[in-house]
Protein backbone atom coordinates (compact mmCIF):
# COMPACT_ATOMS: atom_id res chain seq x y z
CA UNK A 1 0.00 0.00 0.00
CA UNK A 2 1.24 3.45 -0.80
CA UNK A 3 0.20 5.29 2.39
CA UNK A 4 -0.29 3.99 5.88
CA UNK A 5 -3.92 4.47 6.83
CA UNK A 6 -4.57 7.91 8.24
CA UNK A 7 -6.05 6.94 11.58
CA UNK A 8 -7.65 9.62 13.73
CA UNK A 9 -10.83 9.87 15.74
CA UNK A 10 -12.26 12.59 13.50
CA UNK A 11 -10.76 12.36 10.06
CA UNK A 12 -10.13 15.75 8.52
CA UNK A 13 -10.33 16.12 4.78
CA UNK A 14 -8.68 18.73 2.62
CA UNK A 15 -11.52 21.04 1.72
CA UNK A 16 -9.58 24.07 0.64
CA UNK A 17 -5.93 24.94 0.32
CA UNK A 18 -4.13 27.27 2.72
CA UNK A 19 -0.70 28.11 1.29
CA UNK A 20 -0.81 27.97 -2.48
CA UNK A 21 1.63 28.16 -5.34
CA UNK A 22 0.89 29.93 -8.61
CA UNK A 23 0.60 28.91 -12.22
CA UNK A 24 2.98 26.54 -13.95
CA UNK A 25 3.75 26.65 -17.65
CA UNK A 26 5.64 23.81 -19.32
CA UNK A 27 6.60 23.53 -22.96
CA UNK A 28 8.37 20.96 -25.05
CA UNK A 29 11.20 22.22 -27.30
CA UNK A 30 13.41 20.54 -29.85
CA UNK A 31 15.93 19.22 -27.34
CA UNK A 32 13.88 18.66 -24.21
CA UNK A 33 11.24 20.15 -21.95
CA UNK A 34 11.21 23.53 -20.18
CA UNK A 35 9.10 24.53 -17.18
CA UNK A 36 8.49 27.94 -15.67
CA UNK A 37 6.80 28.88 -12.43
CA UNK A 38 6.80 31.88 -10.17
CA UNK A 39 8.46 31.99 -6.76
CA UNK A 40 5.47 33.01 -4.68
CA UNK A 41 3.48 31.09 -2.10
CA UNK A 42 0.31 32.94 -1.22
CA UNK A 43 -1.47 32.72 2.10
CA UNK A 44 -4.93 33.28 0.73
CA UNK A 45 -4.72 36.68 -0.91
CA UNK A 46 -1.55 37.67 0.96
CA UNK A 47 1.74 37.28 -0.88
CA UNK A 48 3.48 35.72 2.10
CA UNK A 49 6.52 33.73 0.92
CA UNK A 50 8.20 35.45 -1.99
CA UNK A 51 11.38 33.50 -2.47
CA UNK A 52 10.21 29.96 -2.78
CA UNK A 53 12.02 27.66 -5.20
CA UNK A 54 9.27 25.39 -6.33
CA UNK A 55 11.00 23.26 -8.91
CA UNK A 56 11.87 19.81 -7.56
CA UNK A 57 14.37 17.56 -9.25
CA UNK A 58 13.14 14.06 -8.49
CA UNK A 59 15.77 12.22 -10.47
CA UNK A 60 18.61 12.87 -12.88
CA UNK A 61 16.28 13.37 -15.81
CA UNK A 62 12.94 14.30 -14.24
CA UNK A 63 11.57 17.50 -12.71
CA UNK A 64 8.34 17.99 -10.86
CA UNK A 65 6.41 21.21 -10.22
CA UNK A 66 2.89 21.79 -9.10
CA UNK A 67 0.43 24.54 -8.36
CA UNK A 68 -1.95 24.37 -5.43
CA UNK A 69 -1.44 23.53 -1.78
CA UNK A 70 2.28 23.86 -1.12
CA UNK A 71 2.44 21.38 1.75
CA UNK A 72 0.99 18.73 -0.54
CA UNK A 73 3.69 19.57 -3.06
CA UNK A 74 6.37 19.05 -0.41
CA UNK A 75 4.83 15.73 0.59
CA UNK A 76 4.65 14.50 -3.00
CA UNK A 77 8.32 15.37 -3.52
CA UNK A 78 9.14 13.08 -0.57
CA UNK A 79 6.93 10.31 -1.97
CA UNK A 80 8.59 10.48 -5.37
CA UNK A 81 12.05 10.44 -3.79
CA UNK A 82 11.02 7.27 -1.94
CA UNK A 83 10.51 5.39 -5.18
CA UNK A 84 13.95 6.28 -6.41
CA UNK A 85 15.50 5.15 -3.14
CA UNK A 86 14.16 1.66 -3.74
CA UNK A 87 16.91 1.30 -6.29
CA UNK A 88 19.31 1.35 -3.34
CA UNK A 89 17.43 -1.40 -1.59
CA UNK A 90 17.35 -3.70 -4.58
CA UNK A 91 20.83 -2.69 -5.64
CA UNK A 92 20.04 -3.24 -9.32
CA UNK A 93 20.68 0.20 -10.79
CA UNK A 94 17.13 0.40 -12.16
CA UNK A 95 15.79 3.93 -11.77
CA UNK A 96 12.25 5.02 -12.56
CA UNK A 97 11.78 6.75 -15.88
CA UNK A 98 9.86 10.05 -16.03
CA UNK A 99 6.80 8.14 -17.19
CA UNK A 100 7.01 5.89 -14.15
CA UNK A 101 6.88 8.96 -11.91
CA UNK A 102 3.96 10.40 -13.85
CA UNK A 103 1.91 7.24 -13.59
CA UNK A 104 2.77 6.73 -9.95
CA UNK A 105 1.59 10.23 -9.17
CA UNK A 106 -1.62 9.63 -11.12
CA UNK A 107 -2.33 6.48 -9.07
CA UNK A 108 -1.55 8.34 -5.86
CA UNK A 109 -3.80 11.29 -6.72
CA UNK A 110 -6.61 9.00 -7.78
CA UNK A 111 -6.43 7.01 -4.59
CA UNK A 112 -6.64 10.15 -2.47
CA UNK A 113 -9.46 11.52 -4.59
CA UNK A 114 -11.44 8.35 -4.09
CA UNK A 115 -11.26 8.93 -0.36
CA UNK A 116 -12.53 12.48 -0.87
CA UNK A 117 -9.25 13.68 0.61
CA UNK A 118 -7.30 14.85 -2.41
CA UNK A 119 -3.81 16.13 -2.87
CA UNK A 120 -4.85 19.68 -3.66
CA UNK A 121 -2.52 19.99 -6.63
CA UNK A 122 -2.23 20.33 -10.36
CA UNK A 123 1.00 18.40 -10.96
CA UNK A 124 3.40 18.73 -13.86
CA UNK A 125 6.10 16.14 -14.49
CA UNK A 126 8.74 16.76 -17.15
CA UNK A 127 11.62 14.58 -18.21
CA UNK A 128 13.91 13.34 -20.94
CA UNK A 129 14.45 9.59 -21.26
CA UNK A 130 15.95 7.43 -24.02
CA UNK A 131 15.94 10.32 -26.45
CA UNK A 132 12.27 11.04 -25.83
CA UNK A 133 10.81 14.19 -24.32
CA UNK A 134 8.21 13.60 -21.64
CA UNK A 135 5.67 16.03 -20.26
CA UNK A 136 2.52 15.18 -18.34
CA UNK A 137 -0.16 16.81 -16.25
CA UNK A 138 -1.74 15.01 -13.32
CA UNK A 139 -4.62 16.93 -11.87
CA UNK A 140 -6.37 16.93 -8.50
CA UNK A 141 -8.61 14.03 -9.54
CA UNK A 142 -5.81 11.79 -10.74
CA UNK A 143 -6.42 12.46 -14.44
CA UNK A 144 -3.23 11.72 -16.33
CA UNK A 145 -2.54 13.51 -19.61
CA UNK A 146 0.66 13.50 -21.62
CA UNK A 147 1.05 16.51 -23.83
CA UNK A 148 3.46 18.86 -25.61
CA UNK A 149 2.54 21.80 -23.44
CA UNK A 150 0.91 22.11 -20.05
CA UNK A 151 -0.51 25.08 -18.18
CA UNK A 152 -2.06 25.16 -14.74
CA UNK A 153 -4.09 27.71 -12.87
CA UNK A 154 -4.72 31.08 -14.48
CA UNK A 155 -2.13 30.38 -17.14
CA UNK A 156 -4.70 28.04 -18.71
CA UNK A 157 -6.91 31.06 -19.35
CA UNK A 158 -4.48 33.84 -20.17
CA UNK A 159 -1.53 32.14 -21.76
CA UNK A 160 -2.86 29.66 -24.26
CA UNK A 161 -3.26 32.35 -26.90
CA UNK A 162 0.37 33.42 -26.47
CA UNK A 163 1.56 29.82 -26.56
CA UNK A 164 -0.36 28.92 -29.67
CA UNK A 165 0.83 32.03 -31.51
CA UNK A 166 4.51 31.97 -30.61
CA UNK A 167 5.45 28.38 -29.77
CA UNK A 168 5.68 25.09 -31.61
CA UNK A 169 7.00 21.78 -30.38
CA UNK A 170 10.24 22.05 -32.36
CA UNK A 171 11.28 25.53 -31.35
CA UNK A 172 14.61 26.25 -29.69
CA UNK A 173 15.15 26.48 -25.96
CA UNK A 174 15.53 30.27 -26.16
CA UNK A 175 12.26 30.65 -28.02
CA UNK A 176 10.43 28.49 -25.51
CA UNK A 177 11.92 30.42 -22.58
CA UNK A 178 10.88 33.68 -24.22
CA UNK A 179 7.31 32.47 -24.58
CA UNK A 180 7.26 31.48 -20.91
CA UNK A 181 8.55 34.88 -19.82
CA UNK A 182 5.92 36.65 -21.93
CA UNK A 183 3.25 34.50 -20.36
CA UNK A 184 4.37 35.37 -16.86
CA UNK A 185 4.39 39.08 -17.74
CA UNK A 186 0.76 38.79 -18.70
CA UNK A 187 -0.02 36.71 -15.63
CA UNK A 188 1.56 39.25 -13.32
CA UNK A 189 -0.68 41.92 -14.82
CA UNK A 190 -3.87 39.91 -14.72
CA UNK A 191 -3.63 37.26 -11.99
CA UNK A 192 -3.91 38.68 -8.48
CA UNK A 193 -1.98 35.77 -7.00
CA UNK A 194 0.94 35.98 -9.41
CA UNK A 195 4.43 37.30 -8.83
CA UNK A 196 6.96 38.86 -11.14
CA UNK A 197 9.91 36.75 -10.03
CA UNK A 198 9.94 33.46 -11.91
CA UNK A 199 12.15 30.40 -12.12
CA UNK A 200 12.81 28.35 -15.20
CA UNK A 201 14.19 24.82 -15.43
CA UNK A 202 14.75 22.52 -18.38
CA UNK A 203 15.57 18.85 -18.93
CA UNK A 204 17.50 17.65 -21.91
CA UNK A 205 19.86 14.86 -22.88
CA UNK A 206 22.49 16.07 -20.44
CA UNK A 207 20.10 16.12 -17.49
CA UNK A 208 18.23 18.75 -15.52
CA UNK A 209 19.20 22.41 -15.37
CA UNK A 210 17.45 24.60 -12.83
CA UNK A 211 18.15 28.29 -13.32
CA UNK A 212 18.28 31.04 -10.77
CA UNK A 213 15.06 32.98 -10.16
CA UNK A 214 14.75 36.12 -12.28
CA UNK A 215 12.43 39.07 -12.36
CA UNK A 216 10.32 39.47 -15.50
CA UNK A 217 10.31 42.93 -16.97
CA UNK A 218 7.03 44.66 -16.53
CA UNK A 219 6.05 48.08 -17.73
CA UNK A 220 3.99 50.42 -15.60
CA UNK A 221 4.95 53.83 -16.95
CA UNK A 222 2.01 54.11 -19.27
CA UNK A 223 0.76 57.59 -20.08
CA UNK A 224 -2.61 56.67 -18.77
CA UNK A 225 -1.14 56.08 -15.34
CA UNK A 226 0.93 59.27 -15.47
CA UNK A 227 -1.82 61.58 -16.52
CA UNK A 228 -4.24 60.05 -14.09
CA UNK A 229 -1.89 61.19 -11.32
CA UNK A 230 -2.16 64.68 -12.79
CA UNK A 231 -5.26 66.21 -11.25
CA UNK A 232 -5.84 68.58 -14.16
CA UNK A 233 -7.39 65.75 -16.13
CA UNK A 234 -10.20 65.46 -13.63
CA UNK A 235 -10.90 69.09 -13.04
CA UNK A 236 -11.41 69.99 -16.71
Amino acid sequence: MIFNSEISAQQQHTTSPVVTGGSVIALVYNGGVVIGTDTLCSYGSMAEFKNVEKIAQVSKNTIYVSSGEFSDFQQVVKELAKIDRQALQYDDGVHPSPRDYGNYLARLSYKKRCKINPLYLQNVIAGFHNGERYLALVDIYGTYLESNFVTTGFASYFCKAIISNYWNENCTLEQAKQVIKECFKVLFCRDCRAHDVIQIAYVDEQGTHIEQPERVETKWDFNGFKTRANEKLHTQ
Binding site: Y90, D92, G93, V94, P96, S97, R99, D100, N103, Y104, R107
Partner: protein, 248 residues
Protein backbone atom coordinates in the same frame (compact mmCIF):
# COMPACT_ATOMS: atom_id res chain seq x y z
CA UNK B 1 20.85 -38.58 -0.60
CA UNK B 2 21.26 -40.41 2.67
CA UNK B 3 19.50 -39.59 5.92
CA UNK B 4 21.36 -37.30 8.29
CA UNK B 5 21.23 -36.28 11.92
CA UNK B 6 20.14 -32.67 12.67
CA UNK B 7 17.68 -32.72 9.78
CA UNK B 8 14.35 -32.55 11.57
CA UNK B 9 13.57 -28.92 10.89
CA UNK B 10 14.80 -25.71 9.34
CA UNK B 11 15.81 -24.18 12.63
CA UNK B 12 18.52 -26.73 13.37
CA UNK B 13 22.06 -26.34 12.06
CA UNK B 14 24.26 -29.36 11.56
CA UNK B 15 27.78 -29.25 13.06
CA UNK B 16 29.14 -28.84 9.52
CA UNK B 17 27.11 -25.67 9.08
CA UNK B 18 24.39 -27.14 6.86
CA UNK B 19 20.63 -26.79 7.00
CA UNK B 20 19.58 -30.25 5.89
CA UNK B 21 15.94 -29.40 5.33
CA UNK B 22 17.00 -26.84 2.76
CA UNK B 23 19.33 -29.36 1.13
CA UNK B 24 16.52 -31.91 0.97
CA UNK B 25 14.32 -29.29 -0.64
CA UNK B 26 16.95 -28.82 -3.32
CA UNK B 27 16.81 -32.60 -3.87
CA UNK B 28 13.15 -32.19 -4.78
CA UNK B 29 14.24 -29.82 -7.55
CA UNK B 30 16.73 -32.38 -8.81
CA UNK B 31 13.96 -34.97 -9.01
CA UNK B 32 11.82 -32.84 -11.30
CA UNK B 33 12.10 -33.32 -15.04
CA UNK B 34 14.68 -31.25 -16.83
CA UNK B 35 14.16 -27.68 -17.88
CA UNK B 36 16.79 -25.40 -19.32
CA UNK B 37 17.22 -21.86 -20.50
CA UNK B 38 19.72 -20.03 -22.70
CA UNK B 39 20.02 -16.47 -23.85
CA UNK B 40 21.56 -14.43 -26.64
CA UNK B 41 21.84 -10.67 -26.95
CA UNK B 42 18.28 -10.47 -28.21
CA UNK B 43 16.36 -13.54 -27.07
CA UNK B 44 15.86 -16.00 -24.24
CA UNK B 45 14.69 -19.55 -24.90
CA UNK B 46 13.26 -21.94 -22.31
CA UNK B 47 13.04 -25.65 -23.08
CA UNK B 48 11.54 -28.30 -20.84
CA UNK B 49 10.69 -31.96 -20.91
CA UNK B 50 7.15 -32.62 -19.84
CA UNK B 51 6.17 -35.67 -17.80
CA UNK B 52 3.04 -37.69 -18.28
CA UNK B 53 1.86 -39.23 -14.97
CA UNK B 54 0.08 -42.05 -16.83
CA UNK B 55 -1.02 -42.87 -20.34
CA UNK B 56 -4.48 -41.53 -19.59
CA UNK B 57 -3.16 -38.20 -18.34
CA UNK B 58 -2.01 -35.08 -20.12
CA UNK B 59 1.53 -33.77 -19.94
CA UNK B 60 2.39 -31.48 -17.04
CA UNK B 61 3.09 -27.96 -18.25
CA UNK B 62 6.36 -26.56 -17.00
CA UNK B 63 6.53 -23.06 -18.41
CA UNK B 64 4.35 -20.20 -17.30
CA UNK B 65 4.05 -16.67 -18.55
CA UNK B 66 4.43 -14.12 -15.78
CA UNK B 67 4.02 -11.03 -17.94
CA UNK B 68 4.63 -10.10 -21.56
CA UNK B 69 8.31 -9.66 -20.84
CA UNK B 70 8.88 -12.49 -18.37
CA UNK B 71 8.31 -16.23 -18.02
CA UNK B 72 9.38 -19.09 -15.76
CA UNK B 73 10.21 -22.75 -16.21
CA UNK B 74 9.83 -24.94 -13.11
CA UNK B 75 11.43 -28.08 -11.75
CA UNK B 76 10.21 -29.69 -8.55
CA UNK B 77 6.90 -29.56 -6.69
CA UNK B 78 4.32 -28.20 -9.09
CA UNK B 79 2.05 -27.04 -6.30
CA UNK B 80 4.81 -24.89 -4.80
CA UNK B 81 5.55 -23.56 -8.27
CA UNK B 82 1.94 -22.50 -8.63
CA UNK B 83 2.21 -20.40 -5.47
CA UNK B 84 5.37 -18.64 -6.66
CA UNK B 85 3.94 -18.16 -10.14
CA UNK B 86 0.83 -16.51 -8.70
CA UNK B 87 2.98 -14.26 -6.51
CA UNK B 88 5.15 -13.18 -9.44
CA UNK B 89 2.12 -12.48 -11.62
CA UNK B 90 0.51 -10.40 -8.90
CA UNK B 91 3.67 -8.37 -8.38
CA UNK B 92 3.96 -7.69 -12.11
CA UNK B 93 0.32 -6.63 -12.32
CA UNK B 94 0.66 -4.25 -9.38
CA UNK B 95 3.81 -2.74 -10.82
CA UNK B 96 2.10 -2.24 -14.14
CA UNK B 97 -0.92 -0.67 -12.46
CA UNK B 98 1.24 1.81 -10.56
CA UNK B 99 3.94 2.63 -13.09
CA UNK B 100 2.50 1.54 -16.47
CA UNK B 101 5.76 -0.24 -17.21
CA UNK B 102 7.26 -3.70 -16.85
CA UNK B 103 8.59 -4.99 -13.54
CA UNK B 104 12.39 -5.09 -13.66
CA UNK B 105 13.34 -8.77 -13.84
CA UNK B 106 16.16 -8.81 -11.30
CA UNK B 107 13.97 -7.09 -8.76
CA UNK B 108 11.20 -9.66 -9.03
CA UNK B 109 13.67 -12.52 -8.70
CA UNK B 110 15.03 -10.77 -5.60
CA UNK B 111 11.52 -10.63 -4.15
CA UNK B 112 10.99 -14.35 -4.82
CA UNK B 113 14.33 -15.11 -3.23
CA UNK B 114 13.37 -13.09 -0.15
CA UNK B 115 10.13 -15.04 0.10
CA UNK B 116 12.01 -18.33 -0.25
CA UNK B 117 14.62 -17.39 2.35
CA UNK B 118 11.91 -16.54 4.83
CA UNK B 119 10.72 -20.13 4.69
CA UNK B 120 14.16 -21.38 5.61
CA UNK B 121 14.34 -19.48 8.86
CA UNK B 122 11.13 -20.47 10.58
CA UNK B 123 10.20 -23.32 12.88
CA UNK B 124 6.78 -23.89 11.49
CA UNK B 125 7.53 -23.60 7.78
CA UNK B 126 9.26 -25.61 5.10
CA UNK B 127 11.21 -24.33 2.09
CA UNK B 128 9.55 -24.20 -1.34
CA UNK B 129 10.39 -27.44 -3.15
CA UNK B 130 10.77 -25.89 -6.57
CA UNK B 131 13.52 -24.28 -8.60
CA UNK B 132 12.62 -21.65 -11.16
CA UNK B 133 14.38 -20.56 -14.30
CA UNK B 134 13.22 -16.98 -14.80
CA UNK B 135 13.60 -15.57 -18.30
CA UNK B 136 12.96 -11.87 -18.75
CA UNK B 137 13.76 -8.78 -20.74
CA UNK B 138 13.90 -5.27 -19.30
CA UNK B 139 15.76 -2.01 -20.01
CA UNK B 140 18.84 -3.51 -18.33
CA UNK B 141 19.01 -6.22 -20.97
CA UNK B 142 18.22 -9.88 -21.50
CA UNK B 143 18.16 -12.01 -18.34
CA UNK B 144 18.08 -15.63 -17.23
CA UNK B 145 17.96 -16.29 -13.51
CA UNK B 146 17.79 -19.45 -11.41
CA UNK B 147 16.10 -19.44 -8.00
CA UNK B 148 16.63 -22.10 -5.35
CA UNK B 149 14.65 -23.32 -2.34
CA UNK B 150 17.54 -21.97 -0.27
CA UNK B 151 16.63 -18.39 -1.21
CA UNK B 152 19.67 -17.88 -3.39
CA UNK B 153 19.42 -16.68 -6.93
CA UNK B 154 21.94 -16.56 -9.72
CA UNK B 155 22.08 -15.01 -13.14
CA UNK B 156 23.18 -17.24 -16.01
CA UNK B 157 24.03 -17.22 -19.67
CA UNK B 158 22.49 -20.68 -19.82
CA UNK B 159 21.46 -23.19 -17.19
CA UNK B 160 19.71 -26.53 -16.82
CA UNK B 161 17.98 -27.82 -13.71
CA UNK B 162 16.14 -31.03 -12.85
CA UNK B 163 16.76 -34.66 -13.52
CA UNK B 164 19.82 -35.52 -15.65
CA UNK B 165 20.52 -31.82 -16.12
CA UNK B 166 24.28 -32.39 -15.89
CA UNK B 167 24.24 -33.81 -19.42
CA UNK B 168 22.63 -30.64 -20.70
CA UNK B 169 25.06 -28.47 -18.77
CA UNK B 170 27.96 -30.37 -20.30
CA UNK B 171 26.54 -29.59 -23.74
CA UNK B 172 26.26 -25.94 -22.73
CA UNK B 173 29.84 -25.81 -21.55
CA UNK B 174 30.99 -26.81 -25.02
CA UNK B 175 28.83 -24.37 -26.97
CA UNK B 176 27.78 -21.45 -24.77
CA UNK B 177 30.37 -19.14 -26.29
CA UNK B 178 28.24 -19.14 -29.46
CA UNK B 179 24.97 -18.22 -27.79
CA UNK B 180 25.47 -14.48 -27.47
CA UNK B 181 25.37 -13.89 -31.20
CA UNK B 182 23.05 -16.76 -32.12
CA UNK B 183 19.85 -16.22 -34.01
CA UNK B 184 16.59 -17.29 -32.43
CA UNK B 185 16.49 -20.44 -34.55
CA UNK B 186 20.01 -21.43 -33.57
CA UNK B 187 19.19 -20.82 -29.93
CA UNK B 188 16.14 -23.09 -30.10
CA UNK B 189 18.13 -25.82 -31.81
CA UNK B 190 20.86 -25.56 -29.16
CA UNK B 191 18.23 -25.85 -26.45
CA UNK B 192 16.61 -28.89 -28.01
CA UNK B 193 20.01 -30.51 -28.59
CA UNK B 194 20.83 -30.02 -24.92
CA UNK B 195 17.55 -31.58 -23.85
CA UNK B 196 18.17 -34.49 -26.18
CA UNK B 197 21.34 -35.22 -24.21
CA UNK B 198 19.29 -35.55 -21.07
CA UNK B 199 16.57 -37.97 -22.12
CA UNK B 200 16.62 -41.71 -21.47
CA UNK B 201 17.75 -44.06 -24.23
CA UNK B 202 14.29 -45.40 -24.94
CA UNK B 203 12.64 -41.97 -24.96
CA UNK B 204 12.40 -39.67 -27.91
CA UNK B 205 11.63 -35.98 -28.29
CA UNK B 206 8.31 -35.16 -29.85
CA UNK B 207 5.96 -32.21 -29.89
CA UNK B 208 3.99 -33.67 -26.98
CA UNK B 209 6.70 -34.08 -24.38
CA UNK B 210 8.81 -31.00 -25.16
CA UNK B 211 7.88 -27.43 -24.37
CA UNK B 212 9.73 -24.45 -25.87
CA UNK B 213 9.06 -20.86 -24.88
CA UNK B 214 10.68 -17.83 -26.46
CA UNK B 215 11.11 -14.21 -25.42
CA UNK B 216 12.67 -11.44 -27.41
CA UNK B 217 13.31 -7.71 -27.13
CA UNK B 218 10.45 -7.15 -29.56
CA UNK B 219 8.69 -10.41 -28.91
CA UNK B 220 6.30 -11.14 -26.09
CA UNK B 221 6.58 -14.52 -24.44
CA UNK B 222 5.09 -17.27 -26.62
CA UNK B 223 5.20 -21.05 -26.74
CA UNK B 224 6.09 -22.82 -29.95
CA UNK B 225 3.03 -24.63 -31.23
CA UNK B 226 2.92 -28.33 -32.14
CA UNK B 227 3.77 -27.81 -35.81
CA UNK B 228 6.71 -25.52 -35.07
CA UNK B 229 8.01 -28.01 -32.50
CA UNK B 230 7.80 -30.84 -35.03
CA UNK B 231 9.73 -28.75 -37.55
CA UNK B 232 12.48 -27.89 -35.10
CA UNK B 233 12.80 -31.45 -33.83
CA UNK B 234 13.09 -32.59 -37.44
CA UNK B 235 15.98 -30.16 -37.94
CA UNK B 236 17.86 -31.49 -34.93
CA UNK B 237 19.70 -34.31 -36.67
CA UNK B 238 21.05 -31.96 -39.30
CA UNK B 239 21.98 -29.28 -36.77
CA UNK B 240 25.72 -28.86 -36.43
CA UNK B 241 26.96 -26.15 -34.07
CA UNK B 242 30.36 -26.25 -35.77
CA UNK B 243 28.83 -24.62 -38.83
CA UNK B 244 27.92 -21.66 -36.65
CA UNK B 245 31.59 -21.13 -35.84
CA UNK B 246 32.48 -21.05 -39.51
CA UNK B 247 29.93 -18.29 -40.07
CA UNK B 248 31.65 -15.96 -37.62
Amino acid sequence: MLKHLYDTDCVTWSPQGKLFQVEYAMEAVKQGSICLGLKSNENVVLCSLKRQPSELAGYQEKQFKIDDHMAIAIAGLTADARVLCKYMRTECLEYKYTYESHHPVGRLVYKVAEKSQHKTQSGAKRPYGVGLLVAGIDPNGVHLFETCPSGNYYEYKCQAIGSRSQAARTYFESWFHLFEKSTLEQLILHGLSAIKKAIMEDEELNEKNVEVGILGKNQKFTHLNAQELRDYIAKLDAFNPNSQIQQE
